[in-house]
Symmetry: C2
Subunit: 80 residues, 2 copies
């Protein structure tokens, strides 16, 4: 079994209203915050033991289902 | 400036319907997926140069605003 941890973030050019809201909230609480960007985090357990194959599968899964390639970037790490 | 990358995940005992939905979708697409858990990912830029102080601030921010300690766990890494 291979465990993949995926992070999906909005591309830099895309506005992040959720992040802006959190940023404003933290500033109003007097925290020294410059910027906040919010994305998604996913843990996917694959019943596949070959790391190369797992990497291929994860790229496919990320492109097809976990991210929207038009506005989002993804990255993942494999372990186990 | 210190950059903190935060991940917030549901505690293991808490049901994750969003993760289950993705898991089912991936299985129906014939991917060898065992389980999927979905959480949040946040990048926070702090205008603070002292790493110890930044760590303290991030723990406070995570507890107070970024996570719900009743059902979620958080972890973060600092860089820069």
């Amino acid at each position: 079994m291979i465990k993949a941890t995926v992070t999906v973030t909005l591309k830099n050019s895309i506005l992040d209203p959720q992040g802006s809201a959190v940023e404003k909230a933290l500033r109003s609480m007097d925290y020294p915050v410059e910027s906040v960007r919010i994305g998604k985090f996913m843990e996917v357990n694959l019943s596949e033991d070959d790391k190369n194959k797992a990497e291929e599968i994860m790229h496919e899964i990320c492109r097809k289902l976990l991210s929207n390639p038009v506005i989002e970037d993804y990255s993942f790490e494999l372990e186990g």
